[in-house]
């Protein structure tokens, strides 16, 4: 996974609360293998009308082209566990989402793919959304200092310390787990001997 340190890039406002993962990527697009690219499906129902005509969201405005930072309202990414929601954001070009809170499973999925969930207060989210709405184009998100600059006074953000390290170093859980293989084997042998009912009976 590519490490994340500082993202200075075009930012895009999405002033909506409870943007669930069904909205981030509608289920009908999820048959595709990842290699097909999921960016075109991002927020499809919000961005396009019934005949696939663009509805003029900032996400599709020419001056926000190449945006890597998305700013949204609370509970971004609640709902379905579909990791395809993260693929859609990443394939569109995003590296960071700033919001007051995130869906639980979604936030884990973000970090597992190197996408930064930057948590800000509701007031700060409104301030950032206001500045972007007023025409501000670029923000800088620094994971080392946990600061967002570019919209007047610097805004602090929180991120779980374990996630922060993982993102800063581009660590992958799997490599770490594999290094504990012997412990896992010893633990599970003992556990299954103590709790034999855990193993499924023959159906």
């Amino acid at each position: 996974m590519k490490p994340v340190r500082r993202i200075e890039a075009i930012a895009c406002p999405l002033p909506i609360a409870n943007v669930d993962t069904d909205q981030i990527i509608p289920a009908r697009f999820m048959q595709q293998p990842r290699a097909a690219g999921y960016g075109g499906f991002l927020l499809h129902g919000l961005r396009f009308g019934p005949d696939c005509e663009p509805l003029g969201l900032p996400l599709d405005s020419p001056e926000r082209a190449g945006a890597r930072i998305l700013v949204a309202r609370r509970n971004f990414g609640g709902g379905s566990s579909r990791e395809a929601a993260v693929y859609a954001l990443m394939d569109f070009g995003f590296s960071c989402v700033i919001a007051p809170s995130f869906g639980d499973i979604f936030a884990s999925n973000m970090v597992n793919n190197g996408l930064l969930p930057a948590r800000v207060s509701e007031d700060d989210a409104e301030r950032l959304l206001g500045a972007l709405d007023a025409g501000l184009l670029t923000l800088a998100v620094d994971l080392e200092t946990q600061m967002i600059s570019g919209a007047g006074e610097v805004v602090g953000f929180s991120v779980d310390p374990v996630w922060r390290l993982k993102l800063l170093n581009g660590w992958n859980d799997l490599d770490l787990t594999m290094s504990h293989r012997d412990e896992i084997d010893a633990w599970s042998t003992d556990y299954l001997a103590r709790c034999p009912w855990v193993l499924p009976a023959a159906g």
Binding site: D20, Q31, R34, N75, S108, E183
Partner: protein, 475 residues
């Protein structure tokens, strides 16, 4: 789970957590053991990750495949006509075969929705850690299991190692005391709760449900309640095992049998929170305050009793909430102040991992018996075994006589991946779990409620209080 006489009192969740912690790092991340892993057609990303590393499934005997998200609900014997869907189901079959994972495939008489089949087969047991790449995995918590949905990378990790890194969530205790009124059930409890605490009200928390109204729920009811925990943003929901749990599990195919069952059962019943264990957050609901509840908006938190009205955003002081209400009622095509009982519907759907078990079908059929639905609708049982049982009880004939379509089991119109979709602008009364924009198809408008309430809406052609149909009058 060994007793620790001198230790701090622990909640049930604490005990399950401790019993599965292989190791905890200094930063608090804990590697936990996974007892059951369910995979479905959507797990293809994770199998691709495994392939890229040339890895094998670490615990094939604890992993089970179930075809549910994409399966057709009609004319199955003809095979799957849609090429993309055929590929999705075929990929699952091939991946399970390659890795020696047992599959409940399309042609298996036990096929159905993963969160119905797991419990039905006795794969779901008290005290287990259960994961699946589906957010409604919280359902299995009804048995006193720690069960939660995970993303594709985590599915890949569990496939590869049989374990998962987790940070311990905070604990939330929710108790519901007293007796629910007639015609009021687990769905009404869950929607009332989510309306109160919000769609992110339990974010970062593991919920433990307790209280006399929870004890009185059947396993089906507890599954509905735990299923909807994710709609409050919780990591998981659970109910401590009791005699109701044991009664359900005895003689299930994959559960322990005979003396092994009795030995396991004694241990399961010990999975209770200690007296004096504290929660990070506690909520108490009174059963008598819970009424038949429906959603009016585009989030499960947009729920209210059927005798209430669509809220008026102009009367809501919180600007963000008012903006949400304005947007939601515009999408739903409703007016501020409109009585919920005046909302006319176009169709009904009875199905999904939330409310398609036998008890759910019985409660809908009790209202539809001898009556006609005034709108079209689909009934998709939670599993092929539920379907068979319902047919043995004659429920299928009640649904079809009422004018509803009786189809095969799968996720169907809850998520529309198999092509069971609503048309843009259509409005449904649905027993499902999400009224998100476009969930049942682009432009679809979903009102979620209990099976009894959906059946009543089918008869009335609009949202209505199911209790008016509980008695004998069939007019």
């Amino acid at each position: 789970m060994a007793e620790r006489p001198d230790a701090e009192p622990r909640t049930l969740f604490d005990k399950l957590w401790d019993a599965h912690a292989i190791l905890t790092r200094d930063d608090g991340e804990t590697l936990i053991w996974v007892d059951r892993h369910f995979v479905h057609e959507g797990s293809h990303h994770a199998f691709a990750m495994l392939k890229a590393r040339e890895a094998r499934v670490a615990q094939p005997d604890l992993t089970f495949g179930i075809a549910d998200h994409y399966v057709p609900t009609r004319n199955r014997s003809a095979g799957i006509s849609d090429e993309g869907i055929r590929r999705m189901v075929g990929q699952l079959e091939a991946n399970c075969r390659r890795h020696g994972v047992h599959l409940f495939g399309l042609d298996d008489p036990r096929q159905g929705i993963v969160h119905v089949v797991g419990p039905e087969q006795g794969l779901t047991l008290p005290g287990l850690v259960i994961v699946c790449g589906d957010s409604h995995t919280s359902t299995h918590g009804a048995f006193g299991a720690f069960a939660f949905g995970i993303g594709a990378s985590e599915v890949g990790h569990v496939l590869s190692t049989g374990t998962l890194w987790q940070r311990k969530p905070r604990r939330m205790g929710i108790s519901v005391e007293g007796k629910l009124g007639p015609g009021i059930g687990a769905k009404d409890i869950a929607l009332s709760l989510i309306a109160r605490i919000g769609a992110d009200g339990a974010q970062g928390h593991a919920i433990e449900y307790a209280g006399s109204a929870i004890r009185d729920l059947s396993m089906e009811g507890r599954m509905t309640l735990c299923n909807l925990s994710i709609e409050a943003g919780a990591r998981c929901g659970m109910v401590a095992p009791d005699e109701t749990t044991l009664r359900y599990l005895r003689e299930r195919p994959y559960a322990p049998k005979g003396p092994q069952f009795e030995a396991a059962a004694a241990e399961w019943l010990s999975f209770q929170g200690d007296a004096g264990a504290t929660f990070d957050k506690e909520i108490v609901l009174e059963a008598r305050d819970i009424l038949p509840t429906v959603t009016w908006g585009t989030s499960p938190q947009d729920a209210a009793p059927i005798d209430a009205h669509v809220p008026d955003p102009a009367a809501v002081p919180d600007a963000a909430r008012a903006a949400h209400i304005r947007d939601a009622i515009a999408y739903m095509g409703l007016k501020p102040g409109q009585p919920l009982g005046d909302i006319a519907i176009d169709r009904v759907f009875i199905g999904s991992c939330t409310n398609a078990r036998i008890e759910d079908l019985r409660s809908a059929a009790a209202i539809l018996k001898g009556r006609k639905a005034s709108v079209p609708g689909l009934v998709s049982p939670g599993s092929s075994l539920v379907k068979r049982q319902a047919e043995e009880e004659g429920l299928d004939r009640i649904f079809t006589a009422a004018g509803l379509e009786w189809v095969e089991s799968g996720c169907s119109m809850c998520v529309g991946m198999n092509g069971d979709l609503m048309k843009p602008g259509e409005r449904s009364a649905s027993t499902t779990n999400r009224n998100f924009k476009g969930r049942q198809g682009p432009g679809s408008r979903t009102h979620i409620m209990s099976p009894a309430m959906v059946a009543a809406a089918a008869v009335a052609g609009r949202l209505t209080d199911a209790r008016r149909y509980l008695d004998g009058d069939r007019s």
